[in-house]
Symmetry: C2
Subunit: 307 residues, 2 copies
């Protein structure tokens, strides 16, 4: 099960950290874009090539330090088919480097439609007498708004293929409370979703003691994280919002279980765009990948000092 | 605005009906798959070619009768990159035939990520000095679980590009009530989401009197549809669940405003797989597109007799 590999790799590298590969063009150094546009034109293909070269350099510079990456598919989808080709190429490349890939796809639909998404991202499709794994991520993020019958096709594929999901429970954005925090039977909706995460994962516990059904809970809401940690003791928590969105390391302790496991903290812009920010500006534009490596080391140290 | 075109085309064709292009391989006649596999192999490319030929025949047979189609992107995503190429090709082909395209993508994320999805599906991306519209649907469906700041990037693009969205409010599946029906301040969550739909669309009212921000409400829940119709008087309601999922025409009246407008009813399997079902079986496998045409005519008559 990929959840066992994730737990192992976090322990082995002593790094409960995932790098978000969310390459907006504004985060990519000019010299990379120039070269890509020279070869492929100012086109979707040119943008996708720039994303690919950028990703590859960052992955090469950080793969030995981290257990996983989290490509945000929206950043690839915005470049159409060529962008999605690079999403797939990035996924494969990271897996070849021994990294686990959390596809941040936030899919979710009903019945046969969720089954199609689950096949696309985690499972296989049967075509005639053959089977194919179209995107083949190790984990995918899932939106729970449609309820259990929208999530079950994903857990079915987790069962069949040993993969995992992270269900959105409490997201890191400012207006996440608009619906997620509303009180239902005396407690907030996100707690109810958290309880369902616990239920959905009950039959999918790995050797590591954690379930294939994890949860997304934003670093920006540590008090809620503290409660949710207890509501879903077997769920790995994927925590976005550290760094650029304002989440601080001292707030992250609550997302871990007493054994120091059970959470993985994401940083996207804080790592991949480190070269644009003060403490790493001396690496220069050409040194963007080295800047990312240093930012990953600093992030790991920061988080480990508080768990 | 695409919402004005949608209202016009519904009136002109007297058909508040959208055909869901959700081509699972099991719904596609054997002779189409055989030909596609002979040419492209039992491969993602072969499956995508079968989907394309199937879609094209159904669109050719029904385009004069209907205002819009709703391709469900999951059914294309399950065939990887070749599948997504056919999603795009289908979108373009339908638009060339004068149809509006509702991309059933159920995307939704936070801030810059939602902006990337909105650019991908409805808007444009800037690459160097050029702009591109990657998928360029006329409408997209949006998941509201992340709240207003996840939806705003979509409404910004609606404003800028004249496009529209349909926000999931009350979905048609059996377990949709698990979260959507939970009582919040004395009324169900879906009503709160419905009220937000009304607010999000307030600045985006078209000449037709309807807003660019519509809602998805399942045909399987007519009593809730009756309430939601009043909560969101300016929202066009996209109604899935007619036919295969059990929604009946007599239950659909509540989704329309007193003027007989403001709703569009989707059927997917009931139309595209009509050839497999009793009343249309006499068309035979080779006559699948003619079966779809007859099923569309019957659906329009059925719905118009009750609105």
């Amino acid at each position: 099960m990929t959840i066992d590999r994730l737990a192992e790799e976090i322990s082995r590298k002593n790094a409960p950290v995932v790098v978000g590969l969310d390459p907006n063009l504004t985060l990519i150094p000019e010299f990379i874009k120039r070269k890509a546009y020279a070869e492929f034109g100012e086109s979707l293909e040119g943008a996708a090539e720039a994303v690919w070269q950028f990703n590859k350099a960052i992955v090469d510079a950080t793969a030995d330090l981290i257990p996983a990456v989290k490509p945000q598919i929206a950043m690839y989808e915005q470049f159409g088919i060529p962008g999605l080709e690079v999403f797939k190429r990035t996924t494969q490349y990271c897996q070849e480097k021994g990294l686990l890939v959390i596809g941040d796809v936030k899919r979710g639909d009903i019945g046969s439609t969720s089954a199609a998404y689950a096949a696309a991202h985690l499972g296989q499709v049967k075509i005639g007498s053959k089977t194919f794994a179209p995107f083949d991520e190790d984990f995918a993020t899932v939106n729970p708004y449609l309820g259990s019958d929208g999530v079950k096709p994903f857990t079915d594929v987790c069962q069949a293929c040993g993969k995992g999901i992270f269900v959105l429970v409490k997201t890191s954005n400012p207006s996440s409370g608009e619906f997620q925090d509303r009180e239902v039977d005396g407690r907030p909706l996100y707690e109810l979703v958290g309880q369902k995460v616990d239920e959905w994962g009950a039959g999918l516990i790995g050797k590591c003691g954690y379930s294939a059904v994890g949860a997304v809970v934003g670093a920006t809401y540590p008090e809620m994280g503290r409660v949710l940690r207890k509501v879903m003791p077997k769920a790995f928590i994927l925590v976005p919002g550290y760094g650029a969105q304002g989440g601080k390391a001292e707030d992250l302790k609550v997302f871990f279980n007493p054994d120091g496991l059970g959470a993985i903290i994401n940083s996207s812009r804080g790592i991949i765009a480190a070269w644009k920010k003060e403490p790493y500006a001396h690496f220069g534009e050409e040194g963007f990948a080295d800047a990312s490596r240093q930012a990953v080391k600093d992030m790991i140290a920061d988080i480990n000092s508080h768990r």
